[in-house]
Symmetry: C2
Subunit: 407 residues, 2 copies
């Protein structure tokens, strides 16, 4: 029913995009300015970082989305426009000049920035680059990829995906681009996600879908446990698929949620796998918890433990660290019931039953853990709660990327 | 009034100690069995890891301390005796054989282990080594150092300290040894602290002093955010100083608390500075918080942030990461009032005022941050709350130590 493709924000009907180098980043081969525009007005939903320090663009976008509607988003990389005295002013100005040239109201333009913080953002390169950015807007895979490239910093690869699904007999699409954890200058890792859909859905149901989804997806993803000041996920729905608009819960909403969840889980895996310096993607699946919440707390503790992350880097089946993380997580677990296995394409190896170690082959364990995608499988044997979390290993390169002098 | 010395657990009157290599660790040049004994019964207090997974020795020690009294502690390194089916049985046996040869009751012997978890602890080398361990007990600096060495794993240096103070006209001493974060095989970092004193004090007041103290000292120290299964602090008081026993709060208790706090803060700095792979000790001092609790939450978030830790490794004045950590810490702060400076022996450099960056010399900042001890000074300008936390940088060697194969 649900078809996954390598599309992006241009896959849904009526969305054009582009990305160019305008000069915020020094490296001229790197795009640093992205624009996504819908041909018609969209309902819009967003979730923002819970950090008390919020980037100025987030404050502006939040304000512009008060009416649940938007039609375009302008994004720059290379400077987060955060902790600057004139931040909000510059972010507002970005929406104003973009709106003027697109024939929109500033309130229908969202704005987003990622990069170094505490450095004033010079708007000149944006002003100069905007005409060619807009002139180059197109609805095809290539221009969606330009947009995808324009929001990256030191990400090593683009993160994009699209799905096709059916609502009320009409074919609908969701497309997305994301940036994960990387930076020009070592700085705050930022997660930005832009999702488009041609499915017709009210802004209330769109926000409901997104808010519900992120609890089980982006909020369960961690590279280094530091919550950025600029993280956000923006979802635009322009209704061009022609389906009867989704206005309440029911089979249509369920179909939309399923499609959205497919997109976001793929993005989480891509973001985790391309975490700063990462060589491995880690997926921790907890089942048998007292509640889903306990499962989430335990899974997230495992995935964020520096000791688990370094062990995975070393392909070391050091299961005691996983048990330790479960123990200190705060989840309500009976540690004497915990069952634990490591799994990858190379096989599965059980290492702990009833909270105590069992004999296992270190050779087989090493083979399992040398794969680039590792599943940490935990059964708490204490109920029906379950959760999945995504992360990555902690490597020399993480230290290198973040320990280098900015100068 | 209060004199600090380089003494250890043998500095207070009536405490003998020793440490030998008995064969738990493969490296014969490393001591792996430690014994501390008081000539007379002691009041005793302890605090234990909050991890739900608790090492078997902790369970036994907790049981033996129910009456608030103890006279000896036997400690091995090289194996944590945790997550083993026969763990409690082995730990009990360790106290029994030690008690028998010392002429004590097993209930007056505490037991502690650190090292790899999930690997059964063979008691044979301990049985064989115990007679010579006991025969070599002595009350001098050298034997206290043997004891100090016997509890280390990959710590790069001993951690010991003593202080002299006065209670009711009598000279009293507190001495301590500690192990921080290191391991033979990459495994759980464990913190063990053994403190002796000849001050006369009831077990109730001793526990009160210790429980109060650890909130502001050991609980404010972090190497990698992972809470071990075996952490604990044990405090023995034998009363041989001859002071009128401390039975309630008052000037005597205050003097004891001050002496204890001097010891524990020194140990925290030593443990943080010798964190796994660390090249720098970090001290984060928060003032001007709404409450002490807010200050503690903020200080601890800064000291545990991977991004702050890597920046300090790189001597990079990337203050935005400090602000970011304060922002996501959960502390009740007004981010627009935050003032931030970095300080070391090389000087002090203010980098942020009113939550926004101020111009500063990168050259001077680098000089300040190249020192081995860095203070991160934060004024929240929002009240009278304050707290200090200790940590270390995150380095290539941390990844190396913890990412190596166990095999």
């Amino acid at each position: 029913m649900l078809k996954i493709s390598s599309g992006n924000v241009c896959t849904p009907l009526g969305f054009r995009a582009n990305g160019i180098h305008c000069g915020i980043r020094k490296n001229q081969s790197k795009r640093d300015l992205t624009l996504i525009v819908s041909d018609v007005p969209c309902t819009a939903a967003a979730v923002y970082t819970q950090n008390r320090v919020k980037g100025a663009p987030l404050l502006v976008t939040r304000d512009h989305l008060k009416d649940g509607r938007a039609q375009a988003v302008i994004v720059n990389s290379g400077n987060a426009n955060t902790c600057n005295a004139d931040g909000v002013e510059v972010a507002e100005r970005m929406t104003e000049i973009t709106a003027a040239q697109l024939g929109l109201k500033p309130e229908d333009v969202c704005v987003s920035s990622t990069g170094v913080i505490g450095k004033p953002l010079d708007i000149t390169p944006i002003v100069n680059g905007l005409p060619s950015l807009i002139a180059g807007l197109a609805r095809d895979q290539e221009h969606g990829e330009y947009a995808s490239q324009g929001i990256l910093t030191t990400d090593t690869r683009m993160k994009q995906i699209a799905v096709e699904f059916t609502v009320g007999g009409k074919t609908c699409h969701i497309g997305a681009i994301a940036k994960g954890s990387g930076m020009i200058h070592p700085n705050l890792a930022t997660m930005l996600v832009f999702i488009t859909t041609d499915c017709a859905i009210t802004s209330e149901m769109l926000q409901k879908a997104l808010s519900h989804d992120v609890q089980k997806t982006f909020n369960m993803t961690s590279v280094d446990g530091d919550t950025s000041t600029n993280d956000h996920v923006l979802l635009l729905a322009n209704g061009l698929a022609g389906n009867e608009p989704i206005t309440s819960e029911g089979p249509d909403f369920t179909a939309f949620m399923e499609a959205l969840n497919t997109v976001t889980i793929h993005l989480c895996r891509m973001i985790a796998g391309d975490g700063e310096g990462a060589t491995k993607m880690l997926e921790c699946r907890v089942v048998g918890a007292k509640t889903d919440k306990d499962a989430r707390i335990a899974a997230k503790a495992v995935i964020t433990s520096s000791l688990v992350k370094t062990a995975m880097f070393g392909a070391d089946a050091n299961w005691g660290r996983v048990l330790c993380a479960i123990g200190y997580s705060g989840a309500d677990v009976d540690v004497n019931k915990v069952e634990l296995s490591f799994e990858s394409k190379a096989g599965v190896i059980p290492v702990c039953v009833d909270g105590a170690g069992i004999p296992f082959s270190e050779d087989i364990a090493k083979k399992v853990l040398l794969e680039p995608e590792i599943n940490i499988l935990i059964d708490l044997h204490d109920g029906e709660g379950k959760a999945t979390a995504w992360g990555c290993d902690l490597t020399y390169d993480y230290v290198k990327i973040n320990g280098d002098y900015r100068t």
